[in-house]
């Protein structure tokens, strides 16, 4: 398995533990990641609100880079995946937009043909690697852990664009958690929005969203949460204490990035997975690991 690797901005900035843990997991599973070091930010749905065509051409440039390598794109950020797939979907359903983007790309000597796939690590593990094969690679099953999956939004909504699993009843994270030996915990909020997109604009609303889901998961007995999106991780981990303060709840719940959880089960030492960078301590989970 070989991919054009698009880690996204946050994994290379405020969530370096996501970048590091992905490298560890890729090594363990023999997945080759060829990083698109010259790719730009995907726009995170924000550039689209200032200049929609800029959003389109920046992503077209990234697509063209991956295509020239003959590889599909792998992301570790649900938001990047959502935005990039949305642009690809726009191209697939409007050839004139693709032609217009290609006119712009031609000025920098590039072209987007339209033959690539964009997938998140979660999808790649399930569709390309296979959970049965992954299960065989588990050397330290996460036995006894109750894990609250937090899907967030862009991993499966809108369904026409993402086309991975049933958005009304997603199961991919639950299946992954089970394959790693842990027990998924159902709770209210696992498919809702973490609040991050409005964290800097409507802070109190964003806090209430994140806090209520963390609280629900904790009440259902979760030992930790897991998320495929680093932006959700900012809301759920980095701002957890502040958001819980707002709803006057005094608890804490560790939140793992997807590859951190996978890495643990594959036998990667916790110190290589970057847990020390978390704001909410993971010590209770890793005690005696």
């Amino acid at each position: 398995m070989k991919y054009a690797y698009y880690p996204g901005c946050v994994a290379k900035s405020s969530a370096p533990e996501l970048y590091d843990s992905t490298a560890q997991v890729a090594q363990k599973l023999d997945i080759q990641l060829v990083e698109l070091t010259a790719a730009s930010c995907c726009g995170a749905g924000v550039i689209n609100e200032g200049n929609p065509f800029l959003n389109v051409v920046l992503n077209a440039r990234t697509f063209a880079m991956a295509e020239s390598m003959g590889l599909d794109i792998l992301t570790i950020c649900s938001t990047c995946q959502g935005v990039m797939r949305h642009v690809k979907w726009q191209f697939d359903s409007d050839s004139s937009l693709q032609a217009k983007a290609n006119e712009a790309l031609a000025k920098i000597g590039m072209q987007y043909i339209g033959k690539l796939e964009i997938k998140h690590l979660l999808w790649a593990l399930i569709e390309d690697y296979g959970l049965a094969k992954l299960e065989q690679k588990v050397v330290k099953p996460l036995k006894g852990f109750k894990v609250a999956p937090f899907y967030g939004c862009y991993i499966f909504r809108p369904p026409e664009v993402l086309q991975f699993e049933d958005h009304e009843k997603p199961t991919s994270l639950e299946r992954l958690i089970t394959a790693l030996g842990a027990e998924p915990v159902p709770y209210e909020g696992e498919t809702k929005c973490c609040g991050f997109p409005i964290l800097f604009v409507q802070r109190e609303t964003a806090f209430e969203m994140a806090a209520s889901y963390v609280n629900n998961a904790k009440q259902k007995g979760a030992d930790f949460m897991v998320t495929p999106c680093p932006l959700c991780h900012i809301s759920l981990d980095t701002y957890q204490k502040k958001s819980l303060n707002q709803i006057k709840v005094s608890i804490d719940l560790p939140v793992m990035h997807l590859p951190q959880m996978v890495g643990l089960a594959l036998g990667v030492e916790p110190e290589k997975l970057g847990f020390s960078r978390h704001i909410v301590s993971t010590a209770m989970v890793l005690h005696g690991w």
Partner: protein
């Protein structure tokens, strides 16, 4: 015709006798492509005549039967009972969210309508032009395309019911309202001009999180979230200085300058003095080695990104 017994768990509430809602369970023999609405009618006619719910056209046109089916708001007349049961093991039926409950599956939609009205959901015409009956005011096919997609909205309230922001932010007018506003903004006959856009900041233009529930749950595929993004882009263009627009400006500047998002400058430029509220957290992030640096280096081939920025800017100016 294939038939199966399906369990329906239905929320019940009678304001005369109940202090709080409870659930009643009914078994219904579901045949073939029977809808949830068919099943509710069956329950009402054969098991409990007191069950209350709204319905009218039974064809997905009137929007009356919007209700929560297994946690997501849908039109009961368009939802197959057997499909729901196959996914969830039962059919859980509840009234819409974000609106006060009146009885059983009936909510007070006044709150929804008030929010729609905040956006002036009507065509603002040029009286002089409208009075001239000698000329038709025709739209081109292209112009019609934009507004007709949005005009497909049947005001069922599904997007409002499933809107995550609305749960926590009662000032947010919601997806249907903003989609309706964009329907008129996109209509060249409308003379509301920038005035339609200017007031939107105060009624929730920047409150949407892009959770995409309004897209996935709309029975008419109106995609309100797309309309919201388009309205934000228009607001940005006419000089919106709100925190939401500052966030967009800082984001674009960051990508133009380095190719990547600089989380530090984005945060500082959006939050300004409010940054101080997170001083403790920034210190903590620094200690943990995860505070983003404001001095990010440009990506390789940044000139390509800047060239694309200039081209996209020219396209926008045109």
């Amino acid at each position: 015709m294939k038939s199966q017994e399906i369990t329906f768990r239905v929320l019940r509430f009678s304001p005369e006798t109940d202090k709080k809602p409870h659930y009643d369970t009914f078994k219904v023999e579901v045949k073939g492509r029977m809808t949830v609405l068919d099943a509710l009618e069956n329950i009402k006619h054969e098991q409990d005549a007191s069950l209350s719910f709204r319905r009218s056209c039974r064809s997905g046109i009137c929007g009356s039967c919007a209700m929560k089916i297994n946690d997501l708001t849908k039109l009961a007349c368009k939802t197959r009972a057997a499909v729901e049961a196959s996914k969830h093991g039962e059919v859980l039926v509840e009234p819409m969210s974000n609106m006060p409950l009146i009885r059983d599956l009936i909510v007070d939609m006044g709150e929804f309508w008030r929010e729609v009205d905040r956006g002036k959901p009507w065509l603002i015409v040029d009286e002089k032009q409208a009075a001239d009956l000698t000329k038709e005011n025709l739209l081109t096919k292209e112009q019609l395309q934009i507004s007709s997609k949005l005009a497909d909205c049947i005001m069922c309230g599904a997007c409002f019911s499933d809107c995550v922001s609305r749960v926590f932010d009662k000032n947010f007018n919601g997806p249907a309202s903003l989609a309706k506003i964009h329907r008129f903004v996109a209509d060249p006959r409308d003379k509301g001009g920038v005035g339609r856009i200017e007031g939107l900041v105060t009624i929730g233009l920047w409150s949407c999180t892009h959770c995409y529930f309004c897209w996935s749950q709309c029975p008419r595929d109106v995609r309100p979230v797309v309309a919201i993004s388009a309205l934000r882009a228009l607001s940005f263009d006419i000089g919106d200085k709100s925190q939401g627009a500052r966030h967009v400006a800082a984001f674009i500047d960051s990508v133009r300058s380095s190719g990547m998002l600089n989380e530090a400058t984005l945060y500082l430029r959006t939050m300004r003095w409010n940054t101080l509220r997170d001083f403790d957290l920034i210190l903590r992030m620094t200690v943990k080695g995860k505070a983003p640096s404001p001095f990010g280096r440009p990506i390789p081939k940044i000139t390509e990104v800047r060239a694309l920025y200039r081209l996209a800017h020219e396209v926008k100016q045109k």
